[in-house]
């Protein structure tokens, strides 16, 4: 993305072409500048930037996952409740042993267990989605709507609708800590984004994802095992939701039935604003991250400016619709 951008600038194509190609980045810079002016530069100060990073990190994992799925022309509505279930499962294995209301009272599990349990849960749900879409031939919208409800039910049954609290400090610090001024969460996102970037850009699998999203029939004719690749993409996304859930329970120090609710819509909105076309076959990791940050500064900026939270939803909705309106024109297949 960055190399691409610099290259484009250097070439004779000029700034106009560069701006046309990177609408998502332009949107982000314009919004950030507006916010900067309105807050008299306060929003550019480190504490603000740091808060934004912490607030958006978990969502970034979900966006990376669903971003890849959308590249293959799919969709995933189960994210919110899967992350909620994962957060509950991971928290339940990280509760302090002397906490009386713990799900496993008196048990002191090793610190890696919540991660393993959480990530496996996420991966399992992703795998299940993938099998339904690829081999069951269910429309992704319906398949993931079903798993969404299953994840919801599983979470309520597992936690008996109670809060899973009193998480160990050793667990919390992984999500809440910092390396110097930089929050751990942001570092995890950088690592995950790098891995997804590598996958999409440098492996055969990534190329296959773009091909499947761009023209599933031609992908099959070209010898791509479309079904297998779809299972892989949903499973990989599930693993990312698993990480998101673990980090979320660590950051909050608890999990309950409301944790991560609506995250699927935030993630889908973010990648859409970031230029990942619902028609499939288009999108970059840079776009996904820019999309998350763009929605982040919209949220953060409106809160900072004291906009009523109900109006925030309204404004956010309009911004997403405008973005999609333009992208649909930009990426329409001639």
């Amino acid at each position: 993305m960055a190399a691409n951008a610099v290259g484009a600038l250097a070439r004779k194509k000029g700034i106009a072409a560069f701006l046309g190609k990177n609408t998502n980045l332009v949107t982000f810079v314009v919004l950030a500048t507006i916010l900067g002016v309105m807050t008299r530069g306060r929003s550019f100060e480190w504490p603000s930037v740091r808060n934004l990073m912490i607030a958006e990190s978990v969502r970034a994992f979900a966006a990376l996952g669903v971003g890849m799925i959308i590249i293959t022309r799919g969709i995933d509505l189960s994210i919110g409740y899967v992350v909620c279930l994962v957060a509950s499962v991971s928290a339940s294995f990280a509760q302090t042993p002397d906490y009386m209301a713990a799900l496993y009272p008196g048990m002191d599990f090793p610190i890696y267990l919540p991660f393993i349990a959480g990530i496996l849960t996420g991966g399992l749900f992703g795998f299940f989605n993938g099998v339904l879409v690829a081999y069951g031939k269910l429309p992704a919208f319906i398949a993931t709507l079903g798993t969404m409800s299953i994840a919801r039910g599983a979470q309520l049954i597992y936690t008996k609708a109670a809060v899973v609290g009193s998480v160990k400090d050793a667990y919390k610090v992984l999500a809440q800590g910092s390396v110097g001024p930089i929050p751990n969460l942001a570092l995890y996102v950088v690592v995950a984004a790098a891995i997804v970037w590598f996958l999409l850009r440098h492996t055969r699998r990534g190329t296959n994802f773009y091909a499947i999203g761009g023209n599933p029939v031609a992908a099959r004719v070209s010898g791509i095992n479309v079904e297998k690749e779809l299972v892989v993409v949903y499973t990989f996304a599930g693993l990312l939701y698993g990480i998101a859930g673990c980090l979320l329970s660590g950051r909050l120090g608890l999990a309950n039935a409301l944790t991560a609710n609506g995250m699927e819509l935030d993630a889908i909105a973010a990648v859409t604003v970031g230029g990942i076309s619902q028609a499939g076959g288009v999108g970059t990791v840079g776009g996904m991250i820019i999309g998350v940050l763009t929605l982040g500064i919209i949220n953060y900026g409106m809160t900072y400016l004291g906009v009523d939270s109900y109006y925030q939803l309204l404004v956010k909705g309009f911004i997403i619709l405008v973005a999609v309106y333009f992208y649909i024109r930009k990426y329409s297949q001639r």
Binding site: H202, T203, R204, T207, N208, Y210, A211, G214, N215, V217, A218, A219, R220, V221, S222, G223, I224, N225, G281, V282, Y331, Q333, R334
Partner: protein
Amino acid sequence: MADDRAEYVLEMLGIYKSFPGVQALDDVSLHVRPGKVHALMGENGAGKSTLMKCLFGIYREDGGEIILKGRLAKFHSAKDALEAGVSMIHQELSNVPERSVRENIWLGREPLHRFGPITFLNHGKMHRDTAALMKRLEMNIDPADRMGGLSISKQQACEIAKAVSYEASIVVMDEPSSSLTETETEHLFRIIRDLTARGVAVIYISHKMSEIFQIADDVSVMRDGKMLGTWPASELDEDKLIKLMVGRDNTQRFPTVDSEIGELRLEVRGLTSAESRSFKDVSFDLRRGEILGIGGLVGAQRTELVEAIFGLRKTSCGEILVNGKRAVIRSPRDAIRHGIGLITEDRRGSGIFPLLSVTENTAVASLGSYIRGGLLLEHRRIEAEARRFNEQLRTKTPSMWTQIQNLSGGNQQKVLVSRWLMTLPEILIMDEPTRGIDVGAKFEIYTIMAELARNGKSIIMVSSEMHELLGMSHRVMVLCAGRHTGTLEGPEASQENVMRLATQFE
């Protein structure tokens, strides 16, 4: 002159229509008499369907006049045509499978109950009218049945019933009998005779010669978008008709195909489709350096056959041998592993990835050969190889990273050929390799094919263009309605013989 006008119910005068790169209709005129069956004949792509689509308001002609019952007609949509008394049975079934027979027949003109400004469907009338229509046409179909649940021939009967129900003065039938049995065709002819007795003109398009001589009064023949003329059916016979349809001069140039034909490479034995109305018991051989043409009319199941060989369609019996060894091909991946490539007939639908670059489009089928350390794609080598193949084929593109959708049809096709060459195949199947590309690019594709054959590749070419078929193939294999009706070689491979085999219906 005035009398002349009264003689015809429909006159199409000097119709022109062009599509990018093709003059589909070139000064075509047609005069149709009321109460007569007018057969419209011609090879694939002669312009019959295009002409009828102009009549029916689906296409707008570029020039010319349509005079219906003495009055100038300008149709902007099928609806206009239907209201003016022209109905049409389309070549492809065009029903809504999930709805009932009666809803399908009255679609878009449903009888309504009216209460002032409020209207709602009059199901009772719809049912009664449909039942009456079926009775009149002696069709045993329940108006309440779900359309998709009927057999193909009954669905076809419903299309016929629907066309009749408009009480039109002209009924166009584009290959109405293609999925009918002999008895059903007899039934169709009774309906046609009933219509003509009521003064309705029927324009009948079919490739089945015997039908034409059974039912038609007048026969018009088209060739290459031009109208050759109209004859009374009594003045023609099958041989004359075939000569008229195919007897055009070869204005196209072909490169000399001088490859050396070597050992046996592909043997297909008794291959039969898993689908009931597709190809049956097809056997043929293909040798090294050979170009085998597959000819036939629309519906001959040529595409289905080659897609089955490539693992895209299921077969119920038969076997495929590659280099003398039995090959199990269940998916395109298996086919590619056996050194087979397929360029599909639908470049846009199943060929290109419109938003991906030329490089990606070229490399997509052979990425497995360009991986380092079991994971990392070797972008530089991939681009270099993709560039090399595209340069060999002289693909014109601004850069290797241009989106393929920005190239012309001919250049897209070269990228697709490059894609398969990059998989290093021994057998290349090309389904309509020059469809929708301009004349200059066509010659380039032919040159590439000759060059590939010279380098020892074996090519199967499905083509609906007679000259291409005869000009490029060592042998021509002809299918008719899924059966292999013959293979022609040398001087035997003439237009007349191909057409004769292509119309050899059971």
